[in-house]
């Protein structure tokens, strides 16, 4: 229950900050629009994670069990591995396109979050066999 509330609070904070950012942004470039889109997808993922925990609690099931913990562990390991290559690509592009450091970090952090979400979805639907 605590983790579900935490996920909702964090998602709401991210959403509020993004809305404030959009309000003060003025004209929006394609890059910024893409960033907003990715942030909204991540916020939806956060709400989905909280909703899963709350519905489990309602049904009298544990919020976490050995499979869900393993899925998170595997997703974290895979996303860490892929993120190394993401940073490599970002560093290469930063050098080539002369992107500012804060924008590079923004894309890096967003990319890592997206990779983790996709890894989680992958293991959640594929399952974990022969381990």
């Amino acid at each position: 229950m605590k983790k579900a509330i935490l996920a909702i609070v964090v998602s709401l904070l991210v959403l509020t900050t993004t809305v404030i950012w959009i309000m003060y942004a003025g004209s929006v470039s394609w890059g910024e629009f893409l960033q907003y889109l990715v942030i909204f997808v991540l916020v939806i993922f956060g709400f989905f994670a909280a909703w899963r925990r709350l519905t489990s609690a309602k049904r009298g099931e544990p919020a976490e069990d050995e499979l869900s913990k393993k899925v998170v562990q595997k997703a974290a390991a895979l996303s860490y591995f892929i993120s190394i290559y993401l940073w490599l690509v970002i560093m290469y592009l930063t050098d080539k396109l002369k992107v500012e450091t804060d924008i590079m970090f923004g894309w890096g952090i967003l990319g890592m979050a997206v990779i983790f979400a996709l890894s989680w979805v992958f293991f959640h639907f594929r399952g974990i066999r022969n381990e």
């Binding site: 489990s56 049904r59 009298g60 099931e61 544990p62 069990d65 050995e66 499979l67 869900s68 594929r126 399952g127 974990i128 066999r129 022969n130 381990e131």
Partner: protein
Amino acid sequence: MNNRIRELRARHNLTQDELARKAGVRRETIVFLEQGKYNPSLKLAYDVSKVFGLMIEEVFIFEEESN
């Protein structure tokens, strides 16, 4: 690893929800076990077998991989 969870669940007239609650796991875990998408830990295998009143080897069938 194969298992007889679906068959035993039907024989005991249990839904996936009920079995999950009795074994102390989420319903998704039972779904994945039935589909053979997850090999349980020894503890979970024991807990599921205990619900059916059987030994682990009567519920879970281990097949050695031929290399």
